[in-house]
Amino acid sequence: MDFGFTIAAYAVATVLFVLSLGGLSNQEKAKRAVWYGIVGMAVAVGATMVGPGSGLWLMSLVLIALGGIVGWQLATRVQMTQMPELVAIMHSLVGLAAVLVGINAHLEIGRVAAAFTAGDLPFPQPEGPMSTAAYDLWLGLTDFAMIIGKKTAVEVTILRIELMLGIWIGAVTFTGSVVAYGKLAGRINSAPVQLPGGHMLNAGAAAASLLFAGLYLGYAESGAVAILMLLVLTALALFIGYHLIMGIGGADMPVVVSMLNSYSGWAAAAIGFSLGNELLIVVGALVGSSGAILSYIMCKAMNRSFISVILGGFGGTSGPQQQVEGEQVAIDAAGVAAALNDADSVIIIPGYGMAVAQAQQSVSELTRKLRAKGKEVRFAIHPVAGRLPGHMNVLLAEAKVPYDIVLEMDEINDDFPSTDVAIVIGSNDIVNPAAQDDPNSPIAGMPVLECWKAKQVFVSKRGQGTGYSGIENPLFFKENTRMFYGDAKASVDSLLPLID
């Protein structure tokens, strides 16, 4: 089939992808939207395979099937609490694929140039119509080479820039995602770690990348040097990805994951440019911009600039933090249960601690029991609760908590004063009143859930330590706060028989 058909199929796929992303605006439409995405992908892959240039159909199909089986297994086996890790590691695959495709593009250019030189013909093509000899040679090229073969000098240079961009971003995404995966999975210490030199090292590596990019363009004609330059460039990008994400604390992982998501999109778009593939450009740009917006939304929720998150750690403190006075008062399960039995309205604030303890099923059961008694139970979700945007929503949904009682911060924050009991399960910074009261707090100005305004607050927490950000939380010392120490799942389970 000819090229026109492929382009038409790409148009169809593009529309399907846009619908797929836009359909996530609500829970019901979302289920349909995923199918749009799946069909769009099938159309895109099918059209590319029947389109010009691709060969080895059987091998492609076998590979896709193989990858499919692996992906299927991964997706079905993964625990919902491991979702952030899974998403992170899958990003790394996209990044690596982009690097490979980029390197291939470079090799292909070399091969085309060699072919033309062997035929004693100029390459890149001079301006004006192609000579008959060159045209004959060009006709004999395979499909991706054909696109390269007709390019002029400027176009080839642009092509090289594009493929460098694709490789560079892809490589950053690759190592960045692997590190993010390690941190989320707990295989790497989640505290921010930087090599001596810190951000200067990153800046240096970025500057060196530019230098080698220039060198690559300069030595593009001499095959061995060029590939060496390209590999050095890739290595630098790999280092930047690694070092950048290592320097970011676990609490900022939601932003990091969505940022890497964005990068993988930009890498795809850059590769799309170099391959002259419109669909790659469109979809890459879609994914890139969506990741960027998600990062922006989350940074806004934390009242921090994107730059300060990316550069790692909390910044901008001045002066000593307020001293927290008072003591943390512990309470046992019977006390919490008594308060719950008396309460009419309850708000539960889950955090990463709930995910770690796998307590969502128990929390769901508690919710079911309380609701059966006619109490109003709702969930308050902070935009950055958990390790992935919307992480808590997914966990609660898995535990069959109906989504219409799971509310966002803005929807529920005004309701705390009229609430009898607020239960904080494994969250810390997102309920820290210091964000509002203490201008010197590292999280000052970050919007938080004002749970301390409820009549009573119970905090389910492992021990007396501080949260990810290492900030003391005055909530725990408030008069209407009681600490319910212990593993979140065990704690909630101990409550269940006491609710009657």
């Binding site: 846009v18 992303l21 996530l24 605006s25 609500n26 979302a30 995405g37 799946i38 590319t48 240039g53 691709s54 080895l56 492609s60 590979l63 896709i64 099937a65 990858g67 499919g68 992906g71 079905t76 993964v78 979702m83 899974l86 899958m90 990003h91 695959l93 996209v94 694929a97 982009a98 490979l100 495709v101 390197i103 291939n104 090799l107 091969r111 395979t142 176009e155 642009i158 969505s258 993988s264 999109g265 590769i271 440019f273 669909l279 790659l280 890459g284 994914v287 890139g288 911009s289 969506s290 990741g291 917006i293 945007p389 919307g390 992480h391 929503n393 997914v394 949904a397 109906p402 009682i405």
Partner: protein, 523 residues
């Protein structure tokens, strides 16, 4: 000190200021109690009952006034009673100093101290001696009973074998203590109760008693009730008109109207006009608790029960508490007892008239030969803390102006962004060849579409969104697919690896998204 309660001389007054119970409590404070013979008779308390409680029964009023250091009464004293007071003697009673200036001056002349129970400030601490509230509570209750007595039907709706009875519809005007008591009684009897008050802040109290608040659409600087000591303030003529209009609308469907609207120190406002009475069904009842101050209804005759031409009964009794003398004597005597408790801080039978105490100062209208009415404003703010100063609502014009300026600001920013982005694109266009620009246009458009689409994604779906975009980003497989057909072995191998990884991602990403979305359930 000796505390004496004379027989009430006012015609028809059945209450008494001292009960055997309160007398026993007063004795614990170190006081002795006297009572005029027959004082408790109408309230159902015999002289013997008093004697049993250790109260000395005195045959005549004169002897009582002479023997007692503190005289306690219900109704304001008559002139001859005031003349009996002597220097240093204390009178505790309702007094209405604003209306009874003559009595007030006479009492001051006699150098007696008068504590007016109607002047007790309305603060939390003084609630236990707030006789107005306890009497109003009884009046509200009795008003409903009185209405039921004159009303020919059930209050509650019933479906019986002999037919269906609709519930009575009761309208309570004025939701003070009496009004709220009336609402409570009326709903307890099963009537459908509506209630109106000029103070919108009492809507919550009305609803808490089980009545429906009659809401009046009216834009006005309404004074907060707390500023006027919890009482209603006079309303503007426009507001009154609006209010009457609402009542006219309600009148034909209302079976029982209980009006309790009073404004301190003024005649009662006319709220239920003659034409409203005409609109009501025969057999309907109006109970006017404000009859003593002229009545809220045009047709009210104080102390009378009249029947209008169209068969509506208008009850204008002014002695509702007295009609329940046993109950009201008990409550009033307790109020008095609390007052004397505050006057005897040491519980040693010695009165310490502390004029620095807000409550005592407020209630004292004459002291040591001087008229001490009106009192200075109490140090403790009345009733509720003043609600926080509300932010001034911007006027429509201000709103409009701020909207316009916000719009202009946004336009400016958008134009600036577009100019920068447009300039950048144009700059690229100057140097880049046409083939590149074709793709570039697509790229810019796609970024734009991406921004537009993603803003709408629900917050709770951000994780599925990430998973789906992750799956979609495996579109990179296209690049690998295009290269795998290359004649170079190395390229083929690299492309094959790319295809494999992307395929993992496609299937994994979509599967995981579907799993997540399937979990989202509505309750």
């Amino acid at each position: 000190m000796k505390i004496g309660a004379p027989k009430e001389v006012y015609e028809g007054e059945a209450r008494v200021a001292l009960t055997p119970d309160s007398a026993q409590q007063l004795k614990k404070l170190g006081h002795e109690c006297l009572i005029e013979a027959g004082a408790g008779e109408k309230a159902g308390i015999t002289d013997d009952a008093y004697r049993e409680a250790g109260v000395e029964v005195v045959a005549e009023a004169k002897a009582l006034f002479d023997g007692a250091d503190i005289v306690i009464k219900v109704r304001e004293p008559q002139m001859d009673e005031v003349q009996r007071l002597r220097e240093g003697q204390t009178l505790v009673s309702f007094f209405w100093p604003a209306q009874n200036e003559e009595l007030l001056n006479a009492a001051a002349e006699r150098k007696a101290t008068v504590i007016a129970m109607d002047m007790v400030p309305r603060i939390s601490r003084a609630q236990k001696m707030d006789a107005l509230s306890s009497m109003a509570n009884i009046a509200g209750y009795r008003a409903v009973i009185e209405a039921g007595n004159n009303f020919g039907r059930f209050f509650t709706g019933q479906v019986t074998a002999a037919g269906k009875v609709p519930p009575a519809r009761v309208l309570v005007v004025g939701a003070g203590v009496a009004g709220l008591a009336a609402i409570g009684t009326s709903t307890a009897l099963g009537a459908i109760t509506l209630a109106f008050d000029v103070r919108p802040e009492v809507a919550e109290q009305i609803e808490s008693m089980g009545a429906e608040f009659v809401f009046l659409e009216f834009e006005e600087e309404t004074k907060d009730g707390a500023e006027t000591g919890g009482y209603a303030a006079p309303s503007s003529p426009e507001f009154r008109e609006k209010q009457l209009e609402k009542f006219r609308e309600l009148a034909p469907d209302i079976d029982i109207v209980i009006t309790t609207a009073l404004i301190p120190g003024r005649p009662a406002p006319k709220l239920w006009t003659e034409d409203m009475v005409r609109m009501m069904k025969p057999g309907s009842v109006i109970v006017d608790l404000a009859a003593e101050k002229g009545g809220n209804c045009d047709l009210t005759v104080p102390d009378q029960r009249i029947v209008t031409d169209n068969g509506v009964v208008v009850v204008g009794y002014t002695d509702f508490p007295s009609r329940m003398a046993t109950q009201s004597s008990m409550l009033y005597a307790t109020n008095i007892r609390h007052m004397i408790h505050d006057l005897t801080p040491e519980k040693d039978g010695v009165i310490n008239h502390n004029m620095d105490d807000d409550v005592i100062r407020g209630a004292t209208v004459t002291h040591k030969g001087e008229v001490t009415y009106p009192p200075p404003p109490p140090k403790v703010q009345a009733i509720a803390a003043k609600p926080k100063e509300k932010k001034k609502e911007p006027t429509a014009e201000e709103k409009r102006a701020s909207e316009v300026s916000a719009f202009k600001e946004e336009t400016k920013r958008q134009v600036a962004l577009l100019a920068i982005a447009g300039g950048a694109v144009l700059a690229v266009g100057l140097v880049a060849p046409e083939s590149f620009m074709r793709n570039f246009v697509i790229f810019v458009l796609a970024v734009f579409v991406g921004f537009q689409v993603i803003w709408n994604v629900a917050h709770s779906l951000h994780t599925p969104l990430m998973a789906v975009t992750n799956a979609i980003s495996s579109i990179i497989i296209l690049g690998a697919l295009m290269q795998i057909g290359s004649t170079s072995g190395l390229i083929t191998v690299l492309a094959a690896a790319g295809i494999l990884m992307a395929a993992v991602n496609i299937f994994g990403g979509f599967m995981v998204t579907r799993r997540m979305l399937a979990m989202f359930q509505k309750s």
